[in-house]
Point group: D2
Chain length 328, copies 4
Amino acid sequence: MSKTIKKIGVLTSGGDSPGMNAAIRSVVRTCAFHNIECIGIYRGYQGMIEGDFKEMGPRSVNNIVNKGGTILKSARSKEFMSPEGRKKAHDNLVKAEIDAFVVIGGDGSFTGALVFNKEFDFPVIGIPGTIDNDIFGTSHTLGYDTALNTVVEVIDKIRDTASSHNRLFFVEVMGRDAGHIALNAGIGAGAEEILIPEEDLGLERLVESLEKSKLTGKSSSIVVVAEGDKTGKNVFELKEYVEEHMPEYDVRVSVLGHMQRGGSPSCFDRVLASRLGVKAVESLLENKTNFMVGLINDKVALTPLEQAIKGHCEVDKELLRVSDIMSI
Amino acid sequence: MSKTIKKIGVLTSGGDSPGMNAAIRSVVRTCAFHNIECIGIYRGYQGMIEGDFKEMGPRSVNNIVNKGGTILKSARSKEFMSPEGRKKAHDNLVKAEIDAFVVIGGDGSFTGALVFNKEFDFPVIGIPGTIDNDIFGTSHTLGYDTALNTVVEVIDKIRDTASSHNRLFFVEVMGRDAGHIALNAGIGAGAEEILIPEEDLGLERLVESLEKSKLTGKSSSIVVVAEGDKTGKNVFELKEYVEEHMPEYDVRVSVLGHMQRGGSPSCFDRVLASRLGVKAVESLLENKTNFMVGLINDKVALTPLEQAIKGHCEVDKELLRVSDIMSI
Amino acid sequence: MSKTIKKIGVLTSGGDSPGMNAAIRSVVRTCAFHNIECIGIYRGYQGMIEGDFKEMGPRSVNNIVNKGGTILKSARSKEFMSPEGRKKAHDNLVKAEIDAFVVIGGDGSFTGALVFNKEFDFPVIGIPGTIDNDIFGTSHTLGYDTALNTVVEVIDKIRDTASSHNRLFFVEVMGRDAGHIALNAGIGAGAEEILIPEEDLGLERLVESLEKSKLTGKSSSIVVVAEGDKTGKNVFELKEYVEEHMPEYDVRVSVLGHMQRGGSPSCFDRVLASRLGVKAVESLLENKTNFMVGLINDKVALTPLEQAIKGHCEVDKELLRVSDIMSI
Amino acid sequence: MSKTIKKIGVLTSGGDSPGMNAAIRSVVRTCAFHNIECIGIYRGYQGMIEGDFKEMGPRSVNNIVNKGGTILKSARSKEFMSPEGRKKAHDNLVKAEIDAFVVIGGDGSFTGALVFNKEFDFPVIGIPGTIDNDIFGTSHTLGYDTALNTVVEVIDKIRDTASSHNRLFFVEVMGRDAGHIALNAGIGAGAEEILIPEEDLGLERLVESLEKSKLTGKSSSIVVVAEGDKTGKNVFELKEYVEEHMPEYDVRVSVLGHMQRGGSPSCFDRVLASRLGVKAVESLLENKTNFMVGLINDKVALTPLEQAIKGHCEVDKELLRVSDIMSI
């Protein structure tokens, strides 16, 4: 059962996020620090199936702590969802004498790791890498803080032109299932309203609120909308609705899209990645498996992967109240 | 004819652009320097019609040199297109004892100024403020350099995620009639192809070129597309076309939109704004009228408004060749 | 004792930090939300002594959430250290019918508030605003996160030139008594060594470590040094020491200085400021006094000012180990 | 004489500057485009002497267009100043069958190239890469535009804290012999005074001007000082002088230093680098030698290296007047 770990694989899987490279660097260097070999697995589980491996030493990860994206590339692998695919992957790991792996990714990637562990009793640890911050067992996922800064910087720019023209802007940000980005970036960017998946503000209240905004002397407004907001309307439909009900408004739309996934990670994300990478490797060396490393109350902590997958990182409803007060 | 100018109005008109505030500051302070009064006219020609004026001294423009947008607000005014509207505007200027005005804006704003001058023999000078760089008589319009930096920074972020996933991205940038932004930001961001209004690459050549890109070992590609690109297809249609012809590609779209108009101006735009504002005011004081101040061969120079409106600032076709070579 | 609060003053005091404006905005708008009057007190306690007050409504704080510095200005006041000075300040508050105040600042500002409260039984609440993060009772002070990002961005630039020339750089960052900035920004920027006030690495170990760095194939090195680092040597003396012991090195120095205090706040700091401002005002309305509002385990929480002043926010020693591993 | 060029070397030499990587990329890809081999020469002339060469193809320069520094490293070589050193270098070039080289650097690097050409009749072309913009034959050197943006962004941050505390700041920027950075960044950052090597303002006038600033209601001031400013005093001495003559002022100093050389290049520098690289290679292919490629009146143009070295790119004195007017 508790065999000695001598070689660790590392991969990034699913959507990429800023800080993944810093986490790879941390895993690689922590292995070197403990005299463990480290193997980079390219293109997520797909590369595991295809044996796309490369040995990595401390100098392989020079000058990547500040780079967006992932040098190991990422992918979603359908083949890994089948027992045959996973069998191939396991064969490759065995052939390469890899004893355990660290997967950096989100819910889907963790589910894959867990299934893999059950089938082959193979040690795995997860590092939460996604900008959506929707993973249970960590207050912050890798890339979330960077994405927030990217979003507020862009909305700051949009506000320049909005307030020069007395316009209303609907700005769509990422978040299909979770309003973390919308809520926090919305408060940070001084949005008048924030629409999230967790709470239905109601379209009438939106119009009321915008009308109140105008009465209180605001000349322009920004409404931040999460992709999966609960009104069920996307930003283009929201624009139409508001134009119909407030014809005096000049309404515009901006969909921020993929730029939110890129960029040089913030200091917070770089430090978090470094800490999580250390803990991930050292947990494997202590023969722990099926855990996610995360940040709880500012400390690095382990959460069983099973819980991390089932749970949900709730938005802080108090922030909705803060947003309301701020937009008076 | 050549009466003494004692009070100058300043307004921003049309779409806003970074550097407009720096230009306002320059006009205001140059007036103060020459002991001339300066009046801010709010919301472009519409504010002129409504008499929305405010006296401005050198301290009114503190701390705006680095701010995007325009503190004078901007608007498009239908009323100013009618003789009645312009009559009202003129009455207001006369009542406020304004002897001349500086308008910061684009082609449309200059046309308005020229008509106004013809009708009332009122001295006017234009400063080219638009991110599109499509104005004859200046190598650079205010805001263009800033917009280029904004675009390349965003595409740098998109490239992070594109190259992590081996994806093809179509990125739409501003430019309905002119490819300046697409061409320069495309080269700056290392785009594989650039589609502009001035040149029809042809969709087949686009597909060929992307296929060649793949063969030469590129794992991801960015295609920069101006709004008014000559293929006649927008980015969503281009995506469809390519997906049909290159089913192996994972194609994504990003429309940069209004963020391109905002943001703190680059050093270049701040210096340009300062220089043009000085020249605009001093030209009026020398009883010059109906000119645009611009940058020609790195020197501030005057161009008759009539020429500025009729002419067109051509893209440098040599850049198309540079782009071709760079994307080898 | 528990009188009704109808008018609240707000001031910024001591060194400024990014997020102070967002906190002022939050205090002002939370007052408006609860139909309380709000008075801006300019230039910290000095302005309190001089009666430099101005009424503030929700529109007074438009467009400042993203601005560095403080619109209320800040100052250190010697006069406030004397009973006579505080008497004058109290007279002014009484005359202006101000019932309580919120002070945004650091240790010194809180001490002033506490003394003032003891003398006049005047309700006060503190918001921790300083980039140094050295205040007990909050995991993050306002401006700290922004300063970290500023520092890593600058060191990223320095690394470009360091690695182009195989150079060693000593970079001095703020932190006279606390190594938070040095330690976190050092890890974030991939520093080879980090010197902080809390731990004496020893100069010999520094040289050893740099020599090891060279042996492992690193061609350039960054050493991040807190102002008050425990070796007792400043960056210029460190440069001399290393040049003497490692003559083959081309050593350079960079002192980051005041730029660390400025800049547009990060999203984190903007949200934190908004949350703390709400809590500060609502705590006063609940007749609480002599507390600091802070962030503990990601939740807003109160700490008695007395504890906040006496205590110290320790650096996480685990980070020293992470830094060691990362620089292998 | 006019032999066929089949293999071109490229090196970066002297101080690095943003855009050098984009220029390397352009040289490498233009060679590939014309089916010419390209060899990277590491560490400038020193690497030429040591034969530190590496073949480069179009994929060797992927993802560097936006990176600061130089992947070829740079160095200053004393050995190359001797005939023996240059002999070794030439032997290495001959052995590697390199027919010509492109050197990216400043005056000193061009002088080396010219001497080398005279001795060995070896074809050379220079690309001006330095942030100082002090090279004759080009309106812009590579990296200059980026450095200007870096400087104004930092001074924007310093101004936040300066204006929060009513302080006077002396900010030292690069420029030992040329005031381009100080003058342009000073205007861009809204400096009250700018001290440059080309013009002696006089210390008394400085004090007068600062006093006038105060009288006109400015609460804080920034003075931008080039390293080689003509007063002969450095920023620390200037601080002392002003403190003596204006004891009411709280004076601070900031030396920006090496960060000015780093950072991701601006769009302008990336496009300029791309254009100059194409022209450099194609000029060699046309059997031109001893030229520098530069930008004159917005067009790429050749200037004999001899002139480029002897001449000087003058600051535009008109900007001094603009600066005076802006700081009213």
